[in-house]
Symmetry: C2
Subunit: 542 residues, 2 copies
């Protein structure tokens, strides 16, 4: 038994020295924490105030930090003032400022005062809410908050967890004017509901797992090799990554053409499914996108949904960025047809002032998700009100993220949230108008959800990359490229909570000035890697 490490003495040690049992003293007392807590609040306020003038990109190179830090942890506690000094001298120097109003790269990632306050409490209660029992309140608040958010987004009833009473339901309809017009009784019978995932990537994966569980039910093992998943060639890289995790043999990236503004044509999906069926394969999952990372293309989810329903294919809608825009009635037409999809998700942490991480996901029927992810046999699962959210996700433990949603929705209110998103879309339109009015540029796809894609007309990829790099090199704004039909295209994405018209104007001024210089030949021509590099960079986006 020696090799198995069993203790050689008896099971219980003979005695414990008294000094080993003496009270343990933490080096940071409650009163010291109070003082430092106030100090950190002040640091945050200073950051919030200065972020408005801050440039986005840090001036550091890979490997900059290690030489500045000791190789090992200290033996003894270090004074706060030393740590604070290092925070400013070493950490802040290497921060890419996602909170800068000059951040026009990828899509935004907004935090807010209310969300930070909630995070403080979340970190202090530190509940690990894997099951109802382990954290009753975080489970229950999450259920309610996902209903609040779902109603704010005008989601079909099937995604809203049962209202607990008809009085509740009446209040909801009156107060919100949402599409929740089912009766409480009907809602109570539905197995749908919402869950907070860490990221939209995880939502795309767990939806795929649910679809797989449904498709393989009662099938022989070999059927797994015949599964086919579909997305457009504009789908986020997380779709391909999910397919890799699932070990799929067949993943179709269907062509979404410029003619359709890079949206997936339902006919293309229909034909692909028919061709795979003819080969004896099993179409099981499709991922549509509302607001692609590359160009904010919008797949027609209703029509795609009808195609999927016809063939028993699970349709997930990834609206990572644009989902937040569904809180605006005037943008909701982009989201029509959701009654025909199985699940959808968006990253609340991108646009809606809830800091990372908080990705909202809704399912019309959670049965197959639980079948894919629960260890509890189906006959032992609670059928009542108890949610064990561990059965809705990959990790076991989970944070009390719904508190952030609660604080933000209450301290802003629906109208203020709508006002900010509407403001960003208007700023995006203003930017697009300037670009269009400047004859040197072209805009290859309709600007949407705050994103404008543009490039120098008639210029090659290397020249457009040169322009983008020259703009970023000014050290104020930060933009990134994408690739559309092989052409390097510059993205300008408005969506930071601090961005006002003046910041967009400044961005446009820099772009114009650098274009002037470039076209006048004063920036030397480079042998840039062009579109290949652009695609690589775009693939990294969430």
């Amino acid at each position: 038994m020696g090799s198995l490490g069993s203790s050689e003495e008896g099971l219980v040690a003979d005695g414990v020295a008294a000094d080993a049992l003496a009270d343990y003293q933490h080096p940071v007392s409650v009163e010291k924490f109070r003082k430092l807590g106030y100090e950190v609040v002040d640091m945050i306020c200073e950051y919030m105030s200065s972020a408005k003038q801050r440039h986005v990109m840090p001036d550091v190179q890979p490997g900059f930090l290690r030489p500045q830090l000791p190789a090992s942890a200290p033996q003894q506690p270090e004074p706060w003032q030393d740590i604070k000094k290092d925070f400013y001298d070493k950490i802040m120097r290497g921060v890419l400022h996602w909170q800068s109003p000059h951040f026009f790269a990828w899509f935004g990632g907004n935090t807010s005062g209310p969300s930070i306050l909630a995070e403080m409490l979340i970190a202090s209660l530190n509940m690990i809410g894997f099951s109802w029992q382990s954290s009753p309140v975080s489970t229950e608040l999450e259920m309610v908050m996902m209903d609040w958010l779902g109603k704010l987004c005008g989601l079909p009833d099937k995604f809203i967890t049962a209202a607990s009473s008809s009085a509740d339901q009446t209040t909801s309809d009156a107060a919100n004017g949402s599409s929740s017009n089912g009766t409480a009784a009907a809602a109570a019978a539905k197995p749908g509901g919402g869950v907070i995932q860490g990221t939209s990537s995880e939502a795309v994966l767990v939806a795929m797992l649910a679809g797989r569980a449904r498709a393989l039910d009662g099938q022989p093992p070999e059927a797994a090799l015949k599964l086919v998943a579909y997305g457009s060639d504009q789908a986020h890289m997380c779709f391909k990554k999910a397919a890799m995790v699932c070990g799929l043999q067949h993943t179709r990236l269907l062509k979404a053409s410029a003619e359709h503004d890079y949206a997936l044509d339902p006919k293309t999906l229909q034909e692909a499914i028919a061709a795979d069926l003819a080969q004896g394969l099993i179409p099981f999952y499709a991922c549509a996108t509302i607001g692609t990372t590359s160009s904010c293309a919008v797949d027609p989810v209703g029509e795609l949904g009808r195609v999927c329903q016809q063939h028993g294919v699970w349709l997930h809608v990834d609206a990572a960025w644009a989902g937040s825009a569904s809180i605006l009635p005037e943008q909701r037409h982009w989201f029509s047809g959701l009654e025909h999809v199985d699940s959808l998700s968006f990253s609340v942490h991108k646009w809606l002032l809830v800091n990372f991480d908080c990705a909202a996901m809704w399912l019309a029927d959670t049965t197959w998700l639980k079948e894919a992810l629960s260890m509890t046999p189906i006959y032992l699962r609670f059928t009542g009100n108890v949610h064990d959210y561990k059965d809705w996700q990959i990790p076991l433990g989970r944070r009390f993220r719904s508190l952030k949603l609660w604080f933000v929705m209450r301290m802003y209110g629906a109208e203020k949230l709508q006002g900010m998103v509407r403001h960003h879309i208007a700023l995006g339109q203003w930017f697009a108008q300037q670009v269009e009015a400047d004859g040197r540029f072209e805009i290859p796809v309709p600007p949407r959800f705050g994103l404008t894609c543009f490039r120098l007309k008639g210029a090659d990829n290397a020249t457009n990359r040169q322009l983008m790099e020259a703009v970023n090199a000014q050290g104020v704004i930060f933009i990134i490229p994408t690739e559309l039909s092989g052409q390097l295209t510059i993205r300008f994405a408005v969506g930071n909570a601090n961005t006002q018209l003046e910041h967009v104007q400044r961005g446009w001024t820099i772009i114009k000035e650098q274009a002037d210089k470039l076209l006048a030949g004063s920036i030397s021509s480079s042998s840039s890697e062009g579109a290949a590099g652009a695609e690589q960079q775009q693939q990294q986006q969430e």
Copy 2:
């Protein structure tokens, strides 16, 4: 094109109304945030002070919260005082107090002042660090912190990322006395390193994905159906869940017998692999545990590693709870043999005062992990110092979690961290001694890492469950059951940062009193579900 939602007017809207471009005002100004920030710091201090007397379990039933909340988000901002009142009246009433010193359930989940301070800054900077470019400093600090922590745990050199210079390496060896005795040059050549995952569950999964990528390299698609993964029947449920996510056809839960204190015998693994090979299957992955959830059993990882290496099987070590104990030299013998494993992980957020989430994972060679999880073709990946941590995990986005490690390790220092873990282990020993000295109880497995498993001698499962429920019903401490060889066994896990001897004494007093009453027949006998229920509950543990 109508169905694809292309705009019918020109690409760019004709004009943006001036008022749509007017500056957006957030309802919470910086100065208001400062005031509320101080107030929340005070709320946290109050919670910290009162947590020491707090009982663990809330008195709520499923569905308690929804009737207390509106059915929809408010339209207008609500006053902070209303939200604060609701926080106390509605949220706090449903909290299970993981920070209570009377928390002896599952394993602990500790937060600390320094960790909360770091979370405040993380939430404020809100970098989404998927790649080096998107957040240089969070990527680099994570690399260094994983080295600090790895050295503190005495990990073999192969898990430590290259030191950047020999000066660094010298400092490290001198200051820390760790096992890092390789030369800087040798270290620089290694492909190993550390990463922070959200949870240990995710580490177990991504290690399986890496093992699968290695095993299937160059194999035909059908090979996927032949893969076999191994764990003991004491392995955490996340091992089975990972196998489900991977869609494995063959998952072996090998018997870990009472004779070996529920550790996995290397012979058992050897025989299972041989039997599967004889059937033409492909053994590819094994998950060993140091400190099982059920009883803190320790699998002999060195011997298991040698078996795995012989057959090209990836060995991952899940030390979710006990990993933190490796910071103590006197506990390190339980971790011997790590030089023979491919990867290991532990949940820093359980014991080491870094609040959830923060699970440390190290790999000896990250090549196959990236092969499994990167979208970038291998020939385009950077080979230098740049880590794109998105390629080490399932989600794309990631939080700046290394800042919590940095604050905690610096504000505590290695000795204070060691002191706390040592204190908890001593308190666990004290408890075990009391139980052993009381002739009515038996201790079926050696107490370890603060955990004691015990039961009423000669009593059936229903009676032991009754004792546990009677103890919890007193409303002070919280304990949960497990099942060992079909027998319901009570777990008493010491590991909360606020727990002192007095709290363990109080727990023991309650247990004794309830045993007195039960054995005197004053608690009515129930038809409890016994071990089946215990197993179900234990499965929920992380």
